[in-house]
Symmetry: C2
């Protein structure tokens, strides 16, 4: 980790808020976007946090993201809504739509909101956690640009299509946030920035052969050639690659199809629009029994898991969300980790918007 620098958290919040305001957002909206973005870093998911600030800025520059657009409800029932994001930034469309799903579920018990014509919304888990904080079960999914190969295919036809779920429990909620590809695209961005080789079984190159060069993936993405990420379960069917492929199609169905939007193989195709789609679902588990009893049942089960017999050489079994939430406070204290390349990008962003680096990028001593 020698190549890492650690940035003061509250300064970084101010940096992001300033940058989004310079990009045309109100102070309130800039604060929402910043909260989604930096929550990723606080959970230890470097790939989806501050390292993408520069990407969002360039997305706005290129006209892929429209800062002036506002998400709009275009179809609605007591248990559902379809939102047209009108190419607003995904974080705002996501928070708007999840809040709508929460409001409906509080009244009817279950609600689904689908979103079309949106843009990258950051970590899927943020929205699921919004519901969990209201003592509701939350689900969040999104399609993305096409980066993932169907089983036996060599052309990317699906997105990395994360599935996120959050359910209240003690001491940690059940908080799952997983790309349905073998790894998320952001992980490859990190391998590339760090110049490290990628494990075999993550990426197929343009000829459909396995590669350990993260640069191959970056080029596939940039030039939209054949090749891409393998689905969860890997190549072929022997270890369940067709299952990861199937989960990815489920996400396409719930996001691109059920929103009247587009599937990942059409996202970002007609420049400049991105037009990815999201899915949010909220369930008030009080429909099924006493809420406290249900929460404590989930808490007890996760405790049984953590305490169960460890495999040879292993000291600890984790439940989902535990590692991130456990480290959250210490990351706030330690500062946000950025690698060298991201650090340089942040300095360039400051320069571009006339912000004093010293005021916004303060390193913390380690």
């Amino acid at each position: 980790m020698d190549d890492y620098r650690y940035l003061d958290y509250s300064k970084t919040v101010r940096l992001c808020e300033e940058v989004f305001q310079k990009n045309g957002y109100s102070a309130e909206d800039a604060a929402i976007i910043t909260d989604v973005l930096l929550e990723s870093d606080l959970m230890g998911i470097e790939s989806h946090g501050i390292q993408r600030l520069e990407l969002y800025c360039s997305g706005i520059d290129m006209g892929r993201i429209f800062p002036v657009a506002k998400p709009e409800v275009v179809q609605e029932t007591p248990v559902s809504a379809v939102v047209d994001a009108h190419e607003s930034i995904g974080h705002l469309a996501g928070v708007f739509s999840m809040n709508l799903a929460i409001k409906k579920a509080k009244s009817t018990g279950i609600a689904v909101v689908t979103v079309r014509n949106s843009t990258h919304y950051g970590i899927a888990g943020y929205y699921a956690m919004m519901a969990a904080k209201e003592n509701l079960l939350g689900l969040s999914m999104t399609n993305t640009e096409a980066l993932v190969l169907p089983t036996f295919g060599k052309k990317a036809m699906m997105g990395t299509n994360p599935i996120a779920v959050a359910m209240p429990a003690k001491p940690y909620p059940f908080y799952l946030d997983m790309a349905t590809s073998v790894v998320p695209a952001g992980k490859l961005e990190i391998y590339f920035k760090e110049g490290k080789p990628v494990p075999e079984g993550y990426v197929l190159d343009a000829e459909g052969k396995t590669t350990i060069n993260a640069g191959d993936f970056i080029n596939i993405r940039k030039n939209k050639t054949d090749g891409g990420l393998l689905p969860l379960g890997g190549s072929g069917k022997l270890f369940g690659g067709h299952k990861g492929y199937g989960l990815s199609l489920l996400v396409e169905l719930l996001t691109g199809i059920l929103s009247g939007g587009i599937t990942s193989n059409h996202v970002r195709i007609k420049f400049p629009a991105e037009r990815c789609c999201h899915f949010f679902m909220v369930v008030d588990y009080g429909l099924f029994g006493d809420k406290e009893a249900i929460e404590s049942h989930m808490s007890d089960y996760m405790e049984e898991l953590r305490k169960s017999a460890k495999a040879y050489g292993q000291k600890r079994i984790y439940t989902h969300g535990e590692p991130g939430l456990e480290k959250r406070q210490s990351i706030i204290e330690r500062g946000i980790a950025v690698n060298k390349k991201t650090y340089q990008e942040l300095c360039a962003v400051c320069d571009k918007f006339g912000l004093d680096q010293k005021e916004y990028i303060k390193e913390r001593s380690q």
Copy 2:
């Protein structure tokens, strides 16, 4: 396939119906159970079909399944219900509960029904397809006895916990039915019956080491020792084993926890009760737009997938459900494939219930 025999389909239907009636079921209930059971064989899923007839019979003998019990609604809202199956056979509890979810979704748009105190319900996909046949989106999940290891663990704490989804489309629906383990337990039963070695990365033995002996898994299951199946994504986190583990916990949450039932690590523990739990969800996708437009969008996307560029050496890309549904009619014509051991079991079942083998077990010429 030399060891296989092919049984006349309509005779096999009659055999199953007779056997379930001999076990105390009405003609109507025996027909429902038989339809679920043999649909698996018709879809080419040998592991969950007629090869398990003997297991269900012995489950009834042992008092694990109560033939006289009837599923009962114990809690209900317009969008939800909790069903207590009272240890009735899972197929009947499943059909009853999915019908209830379909009825509710036709009125409200979305419905969830959870089931507790049930028994093995056959293929999860059968119930999802019940909704798709009514032009609705169907989901079905179940927990099972504990057979699957958490990441870094050596004691099975989750079931194989399948997720099934069915969505109408042409010429084939999207029909996903996948264990969240690397393979379903039934697959190991087949490896064992055929005496074939298991690929490395499916099973860890009682010491937590990888094994290629299907008999190890059969013993782990029988004696409830440490060891078990790996989750989708395999051992550790490198290829996403923690994701398969997370999906499995999601199924435990939606089935065992949200039904007021039990998680897989408690299923089949207190003899004779099994007490596994199910989850059914139905969404009327008309909530989100014109139904025909949504169906044809899904059909078009799946056609794009099937036509997309093939990986080196591959001739065909499948969408989920296509291989099974494509072969369905030919399997009816060809007959149901059973291996030698299953054939012997069926003969023994005939003997036990005083059924004339010649009348019920008719081989078809190949």
